[in-house]
């Protein structure tokens, strides 16, 4: 049962990542301004990669392969990791704006990498036990 949920979760999140990744790339190439979707070619590429990992997982689920869960799990990890990276970068941007006395708005920080990572993080918390097995502190 939990596996079916995870498969669907991976498929939905994967489609969202893929779609918004496309939009970012399109708006970077065509200078189209969209709300909450920054024009960023490489940023879009990253979203596409995460989407591809999640969708690969969903596909394997659909084929009845156990490996699907592995891809969805790692997709969730990547989603959270890049969400954190983007948030960190946005926080630094805010700090810089304060130091250099420039304008800054919270809207700049609301990008797909961040709001999709919120969904990813929900998945991470829901299945968090799988993520800590066998990991060793160096």
């Amino acid at each position: 049962m939990s596996n079916v949920i995870k498969g669907v979760f991976g498929a939905v999140l994967g489609v969202l990542y893929g779609g918004l990744g496309m939009l970012q790339i399109v708006s970077a190439v065509t200078y189209l301004a969209l709300p909450f979707v920054p024009a960023s070619f490489f940023g879009g590429f990253v979203l596409l990669v995460i989407g591809a990992v999640l969708l690969t997982g969903a596909r394997k689920f659909a084929q009845g392969l156990d490996e699907g869960v592995v891809f969805v799990n790692v997709g969730i990890l990547l989603s959270v990791a890049f969400g954190a990276v983007t948030l960190l970068a946005a926080g630094a941007g805010a700090l810089e704006a304060v130091i250099a006395e420039e304008a800054w708005s919270i809207a700049d920080a609301i990008t797909p990498a961040v709001y999709l990572a919120v969904i990813g993080a929900a998945g991470f918390l829901a299945w968090c036990r799988t993520f800590f097995r066998g990991l060793v502190a160096a």
Partner: protein, 665 residues
């Protein structure tokens, strides 16, 4: 007080250097991949009235050495007779590690096993019965955790005890009737040579000879027993014996393991899950690229507020200097020369530290080793072993250790190619140039431009490797099976320490080489007396105009020509020189403002300049290292010439194409 020499040996990536650092208080480089240490390093400690020399050796899977770094380890153990050999063993991977143990036992040297990474084994659910293991191998076994410095006292005590007891009980593998008969007859022939008998254990030598070991053969070449041994070996196939005897060793290990180890619960852990995905056939390289891009985003974004602070500080400093120092030339020396030159480089300290923090993190977790694995197929396609990607990864920090890391490459031609392409990997010293120019001319796209430059560096390295393979260094390389270190969650502390030790070098360079470079350029810009500072009439101007025709096709003016010339010393000097020449003693982000205001510079020339800086000789130290590692000035000269030509051509082509799109040039 007695002196004791302890050699640390073991498979690659088992934590030898970590233990060495913990024992001796050194800071040798540690990395979560095989082949980090390529030279032997010695450290001295006093312990309970003993003066102990600890020697850290490169990792090796067996005493039959194949690559240059393995030879270092083997020769030290066999020929330098350390008082005791500590074999560092990865407790999570006993199968592969105990193979070396069987060979060391045969050699008859006093051995102590440091059962390292005990924490990882325990976390993985393994329990290892050390007493049983010790009894079965007749070797003391001590539990250690190198990263936390656990078990060091016990290790030293055991090592001293072993060094001082004699004789040692050797506990060697039996190779079966056939091989044993051959060994016995070889030993018989060898024992006629008393000199040999004194130097090497004959059984060990006989085994090596039977396996067809070239190095062992060389050891007896001058011995009177040589012809006799040759006669014995003439009818046999050494490969067959080598394989059969290796089987026996593994059988022995397989017999020991179940008696000493209870395995943990099954199931895929996170490490295995992540591996399955990041090394996926199709997704592996895209994920690698995505992570790299994330790394540069962070390098830019997170550093920005700190850079802004430093800029503000420098602006204040130069304003103070300008107002309070007399006479004018001294104010110019301090303002234009020191603050302008060194300050321009120091501004980027936050970027450098963050880049190193990210690289250390990726390295410590074990991801960089995976990156090498992912690239294996690509590397193999261009005719290099996948291992050759590791020197490239190290080159992202600095090309000098990157080139030295090529010692892990087995074939001589493979190694040469790996060395020659390493300078194209963009080292951290080039980052300030990119940040300065990309930041000034590409605004929000700066991160993407820098990312592309790094990719271009990798492409230039791979393309050149393919070119060399098909022209001057033809051949085929053997496929390589890479061992993957487990993922580890590095503590913030280890990563910070790594970052600090690498980043501190940058700051030190700013205070030495770059300071000197800035002062030289300042002198050139101020002389002859009475000339307008930094004008065409100065010595710097004369020098620049002399070089200008060479770089004019690329759209560079004399100031850039001078900066590039001094950039041979080190790449940060390019930024330092420009800081001096543009006379931006006002500090702050004045240099990027001055560059933007220069009508001779456009986004296209900035791009051409960054490409030129990416591809031409990284620094004098790199040239010296290439000379040292290849043993010839010819290759060093070739590297400089090839780099210059490639840099010039690509800068020209890209500059012209870019000027079509971006305008200017």
């Amino acid at each position: 007080m007695t002196g004791i020499r302890i050699a640390l040996t073991g498979n690659p990536n088992v934590g030898k250097t970590t233990l060495f650092n913990a024992l001796t208080g050194s800071r040798q480089h540690v990395g979560n991949w095989p082949g980090v240490t390529v030279e032997k390093k010695t450290g001295r400690i006093d312990w309970n009235g003993h003066a102990i020399d600890v020697i850290d050796l490169p990792g090796t899977y067996s005493l039959t050495a194949y690559s240059a770094d393995e030879v270092v380890a083997r020769d030290y153990i066999i020929d330098e007779n350390p008082d005791v050999v500590v074999q560092v063993v990865d407790a999570t991977n006993l199968e592969r590690n105990l193979y070396l143990t069987t060979q060391l036992a045969e050699l008859g040297v006093p051995v102590v096993i440091a059962l390292n990474m005990a924490d990882a084994a325990e976390a993985g659910g393994y329990a290892i019965d050390r007493e049983k293991l010790s009894a079965l191998l007749a070797i003391p076994v001590v539990r250690t955790v190198g990263t936390r410095g656990e078990g060091l006292d016990g290790l030293l005590d055991a090592a001293i005890r072993e060094a001082e007891t004699s004789p040692h009980h050797e506990h060697t593998v039996g190779y079966g009737n056939d091989a044993e008969a051959m060994i016995a007859s070889i030993v018989d022939v060898l024992s006629a040579d008393k000199d040999l008998t004194k130097r090497y254990p004959l059984r060990w030598l006989a085994v090596r000879l039977l396996e067809g070991d070239e190095n062992a053969l060389a050891k007896i070449r001058d011995s009177p027993a040589f012809t006799g041994v040759q006669a014995l070996l003439s009818g046999i196939d050494p490969d067959e014996y080598e394989a059969a005897m290796a089987d026996r060793r593994y059988e022995m290990i397989a017999a020991v393991l179940p008696q000493v180890r209870t395995a943990g619960a099954g199931g895929m852990n996170v490490s295995e899950m992540v591996d399955r995905v990041v090394t996926d056939r199709y997704l592996g390289i895209p994920i690698f690229l995505a992570l790299m891009w994330g790394a540069f985003e962070l390098t830019f974004a997170v550093a920005a507020p700190f850079v802004a602070l430093i800029e503000a500080g420098l602006a204040w400093l130069s304003a103070t200097v300008a107002g309070s120092i007399e006479p004018g030339w001294l104010a110019s020396l301090v303002g234009d020369g020191i603050i302008g030159g060194v300050g321009a480089v120091l501004v980027f300290v936050p970027n450098i530290f963050i880049l190193f923090l990210i690289l250390s993190f990726l390295d410590d977790t074990g991801y960089l080793a995976r990156a090498a694995f992912i690239m294996d197929r690509l590397m193999y396609a261009i005719g290099l072993p996948g291992k050759a990607f590791i020197p490239m990864l190290i080159g992202f920090g600095c090309n000098v250790p990157g080139i030295m890391a090529a010692r892990t490459i087995e074939g001589e031609k493979d190694r040469l190619i790996t060395i020659l392409v390493n300078p194209f990997i963009s080292c951290s010293a080039r980052l300030p140039v990119y940040i300065l120019f990309a930041g000034a001319f590409f605004g929000a796209g700066a991160g993407g431009v820098v990312f592309l430059l790094y990719i271009l560096g990798i492409a230039a390295a791979i393309g050149s490797a393919k070119l060399f393979r098909h022209t001057i260094l033809p051949g085929e390389s053997s496929p390589f099976i890479m061992e993957m270190p487990p993922y580890r969650l590095p503590t913030a502390w280890t990563s910070l320490l790594h970052m600090w030790s690498r980043g501190a070098m940058y700051v030190r360079k700013a205070g030495t080489i770059i300071l000197v470079g800035a002062l030289v350029v300042w002198c050139l810009a101020s002389l002859p007396f009475g000339v307008d500072y930094g004008s065409s009439a100065s010595l710097a101007g004369a020098l620049g105009h002399l070089l200008e025709p060479l770089v004019a096709p690329l759209g560079f003016d004399w100031k850039i020509a001078v900066a590039l010339l001094f950039g041979f010393v080190a790449k940060e000097v390019v930024v330092g020189s420009l800081g001096v020449l543009y006379g931006t003693g006002e500090g702050g982000d004045a240099l990027s403002m001055a560059l933007l205001a220069d009508p001779g510079l456009s986004a296209a020339t900035a791009l051409a300049l960054m490409i030129f800086v990416l591809l031409y000789t990284p620094c004098l130290a790199t040239i010296a290292t290439i000379r040292k590692e290849t043993g010839s000035w010819r290759w060093a000269g070739f590297s400089v010439a090839y780099g210059l030509v490639l840099a010039w051509l690509l800068a020209l082509i890209v500059g012209h194409i870019a000027s079509l799109f971006l305008g200017g040039a």
